[in-house]
């Protein structure tokens, strides 16, 4: 199968959504087990965000991005060598209850039926709502890294504002690229090390990550980048474009001039597909995010739907690939195929790779200012809905994000709630003194990404039997 027919749905054993580490690994393993596999990805090329542009790296850029990035190349090579049908530039915009996937590719829609669906859609950056964060020139830290990976472009005056491993990694990579950030405004609140210490023994099992983290921090400090700790009351100033960032650190207000401010508060599972499918989700108090409820083999509450990688809960690229393989093996076994590799070895490797997580999660949990932003802060960037307006809607009786959405249009813009979802829920939960599980999340509806009306009008989908 290399072509999708507009006339009739193509059938496969396994559809894998997302070509990052989890998706590539799952696809290769399922294919090796003898299953027909389609790997669907929105991007132009393999790798997802973590291994973005992995097939077109140059020695110079590899040197900057480091061995953990370069490690992704072998995964992409194994995918290319496999029998997997890889469909780049393909956006899954709906999945119906009878395992029919509606896809958009190069301006037209078609259908794919899969016995099993592996959701490997990875992570998105946790929103960092603060006054001024909608100004032009303000990006995420992840955006800076994508610029570097995909285009070899760096911002010379960038100020990084936030916390977490990715921020330090990007700072270190910028230094290696010869353009250190202008400053780092660290938002990790005081006392976090004490909260994280109970997890340190376990984390030492994953000492490679700790060592890497410490070495990145040393590299940043060694390069003379000013670092401001435990920053609060952060706001970005500017008229058309960001001009400066103001914050309080160690009791003193600082303003740093820059028109490129990059924000980061860690990453969280991308829930769009599992929410569309109405899979059960649970709040993870350690990761501060919703995760789909999975059995030991990555299976969701919805029949035939599995999740692998950061979409299942944040574990990083290596864990994502391990989990992708495990999920593929579980499916292979269910379909009566011999496993091409040993499950217990992968499980042991997964446990070892994840050992550092509880420590990192305690250390870098989002600061209160991002969980419950000040009233005037825009939370929904698309519809420009403020935290205060959300609180008012709660006071009017709105019990959760879907009623708030219908009152205020938060989450109704083109991003479909991807950016604001978690903060909207957390503001409601705080206001109602309810748990995140009681509060819930936006209901996600098709299309998963906006689609031109003409494309839908030209689409001739099969009638589906709704379960």
């Amino acid at each position: 199968m290399t072509q999708l027919s507009p006339m009739q749905p193509t059938k496969v054993d396994v559809a894998v959504i997302g070509a990052g580490p989890a998706g590539m690994a799952a696809a290769v393993t399922a294919s090796k087990a003898g299953l027909s596999v389609a790997l669907l990805d929105e991007g132009q090329s393999l790798g997802g965000q973590i291994y973005r542009n992995i097939e077109h790296g140059t020695p110079f850029r590899d040197g900057i991005l480091g061995p953990d990035y370069v490690a992704g190349r072998s995964l992409a090579e194994s995918l290319r060598a496999s029998d997997v049908t890889y469909l780049p530039r393909t956006s899954v915009w709906n999945i119906s209850t009878d395992n029919m996937l509606d896809l958009s590719r190069d301006g037209s829609s078609s259908q794919l039926i899969a016995d099993k669906i592996i959701v490997a859609t990875g992570a998105v950056e946790r929103p960092s709502p603060m006054p001024g964060w909608t100004l032009a020139g303000v990006t995420t830290v992840g955006a800076l890294q994508i610029l570097l990976k995909a285009s070899g472009v760096v911002q010379e005056d960038a100020v990084l504002v936030g916390s977490g491993p990715l921020m330090w990694l990007v700072a270190a990579q910028m230094i290696s690229a010869g353009t250190p950030p202008k400053a780092i405004v660290e938002t990790t609140p005081k006392g976090r090390m004490a909260q994280a210490m109970p997890h340190i023994l376990k984390a030492l099992k994953g000492h490679r990550y700790l060592t890497k983290g410490l070495s990145m921090m040393r590299q940043v400090r060694g390069a003379g980048v000013p670092i401001y700790n435990a920053a609060t009351d952060i706001r970005i100033n500017g008229h058309e474009i960001a001009e400066s960032v103001t914050f309080v650190s160690k009791g003193k207000e600082h303003t740093i001039r820059s028109s490129h401010i990059a924000l980061h508060q860690g990453v969280v599972p991308n829930q769009q597909v599992t929410r569309l499918l109405r899979c059960d989700h649970k709040w993870d108090a350690s990761q501060h995010c919703f995760r789909p409820v999975l059995d030991g083999q990555g299976k969701t509450s919805v029949p035939d739907v599995y999740v692998a990688g950061d979409g299942a809960g944040i574990g990083g690229a290596k864990s994502a690939a391990l989990m992708g393989r495990l999920v593929a093996l579980a499916i292979a076994q269910e379909k009566g195929k011999a496993a091409p590799e040993r499950v217990y070895r992968l499980q042991a490797a997964l446990a070892s790779d994840g050992a550092v997580r509880p420590f990192l999660e305690a250390m870098y949990a989002p600061a209160p200012q991002f969980v419950k932003p000040a009233k005037e802060t825009i939370v929904c960037r698309c519809e420009e809905v403020t935290a205060g307006a959300i609180e008012d809607a709660v006071d009017l009786g709105a019990p959760g994000p879907n009623q708030v959405k219908s009152f205020l249009r938060s989450g109704m813009g083109p991003c479909q709630g991807r950016v604001c979802g978690l903060v909207v829920s957390s503001i409601i939960a705080e206001r109602r003194k309810a748990s995140m599980d009681e509060t819930g999340y936006y209901r996600i509806r098709p299309p998963l990404k906006p689609i031109p009306l003409s494309e839908l009008a030209n689409f001739q989908p099969l009638e589906v039997a709704q379960k």
Binding site: A398, G400, S406, R409, P414, P450, L453, F459, Q466
Partner: protein
């Protein structure tokens, strides 16, 4: 347990909220019991038409009631904004039922002829327009549009702002809104009524069932027969564009925010509210036929909602014969009828009795004259 109020309203959607708003305005103490965040909510899925033409072709009293509501809407919208600070974006712009074939146009013409005298001296207010006349009113129509029926009493509103305005108004008038539903049971309780949710018990001298499909089961315990069935409708909405369409059509309307809504599907798929690709593509094709200028716009979201339909499509309003002071309100036109529910029906319920000519809206109409 909460103190007893004058009236418990079960259901906080557009129907329950409009009735409760009217009751509160009439000076009653009111408790509205609503479900939580995820529920079958026809109100959240509404298209937003305040629509008179074509309504009540099987029951002329329903045609007159819809018209009465449209006549009340301007004052209602004003009062709503006054009480809540929320403008429901109501526009009495007139509305057009677009016809894509001569046959459809003939049917519209026949319907208008049949209905022309339904409001007596008030006039029906709908007329058939040919394509040339339509072009003078509406830009960008596609070649397949042959004409349409223009209704001068038709208009549109934002159902979401309407709901928010009603909830805001309820709050400002001191009504209690509880979202710990669903109501699991209702029962006669001495001189009044009791409604129970999983966590609370509510008491009131009267009770109004406005729980959409939930009414069917609840009504049984109060001697109310409520023969309603589900019918799914799906809707698409685009990204925002500059205002181009200043009046609603029955399948496409532009909101005040600039998004364009496309709807009018009818499916019998039980209580499922999922959007499905076949209907999404049908709606898209129809929209492109009506307005080819929308082709390049992106659909940002789709949704399904489940209409509450009686056997003849008209509302059911009824007081229980065995439980005086227990009323049921059932309809699929919660937006169109919001004006009448708030300003005409609620005062009757506040007075404890539906008008005698409301007998026509009781479910008894489906059972011949049996009592």
């Amino acid at each position: 347990m909460s103190a007893s109020v004058d009236t418990i309203v079960v259901g906080g959607g557009l129907v329950g909220s409009a009735v409760a708003w009217g009751l509160a305005r009439a000076g009653e103490t009111v408790t509205v019991i609503d479900e939580g965040d995820i529920a079958l909510r026809a109100s959240r899925g509404n298209f937003g038409l305040v629509w008179v033409q074509t309504k009540g072709k099987n029951l002329f009293d329903y045609a007159r009631w819809s018209r009465r509501s449209a006549d009340l809407w301007p004052e209602f919208a004003e009062l709503l904004e006054e009480h809540s600070g929320v403008n429901p974006d109501y526009h009495k712009a007139g509305g057009v039922h677009l016809c894509l074939s001569e046959e459809e146009l003939d049917q519209a013409r026949a319907l208008n002829n049949r209905m022309h005298n339904v409001n007596g001296a008030l006039g029906y207010g709908a007329e058939i327009l040919d394509r040339k006349q339509l072009d003078e009113m509406i830009p960008g129509l596609g070649p397949d549009v042959v004409g349409g029926s223009y209704g001068q009493h038709d208009g549109h509103t934002s159902p979401l702002r309407l709901l928010r305005g009603l909830h805001g108004g309820l709050k400002s008038m001191g009504a209690t809104y509880a979202s710990d539903g669903p109501v699991l049971s209702v029962a006669k309780d001495g001189e009044g009524y009791v409604a129970k949710t999983a966590s609370s018990t509510y008491r009131g001298a009267k009770i109004v069932l406005a729980a959409g499909h939930g009414n069917k089961a609840l009504g049984q315990s109060l001697g109310l027969d409520i023969p309603i069935h589900p019918e799914k409708g799906q809707i698409l909405v685009t990204e925002r564009v500059d205002p181009f369409l200043n009046m609603p059509t029955h399948v496409i309307r532009q909101t005040d925010e600039g998004t364009v809504m496309m709807g009018d599907s009818h499916e019998h798929t039980g209580y499922s509210d999922r959007s499905t690709a076949p209907v999404i593509s049908d709606l898209a094709r129809n929209a492109v036929r009506c307005f080819p200028i929308l082709s390049k716009l992106k659909i940002v979201r789709s949704w399904g909602a489940v209409r509450i339909l009686s056997p003849d499509g008209a509302p059911i309003y009824q007081e229980s014969e065995t439980c005086k002071g227990a009323f049921s309100v059932n309809c699929h036109s919660g937006v169109t009828l919001a004006g009448a529910h708030a300003m005409a029906l609620a005062p009757m319920i506040a007075a404890g009795k539906l008008d005698p000519d409301f007998e026509i809206f009781s479910a008894r109409r489906f059972h011949g004259q049996t009592h």
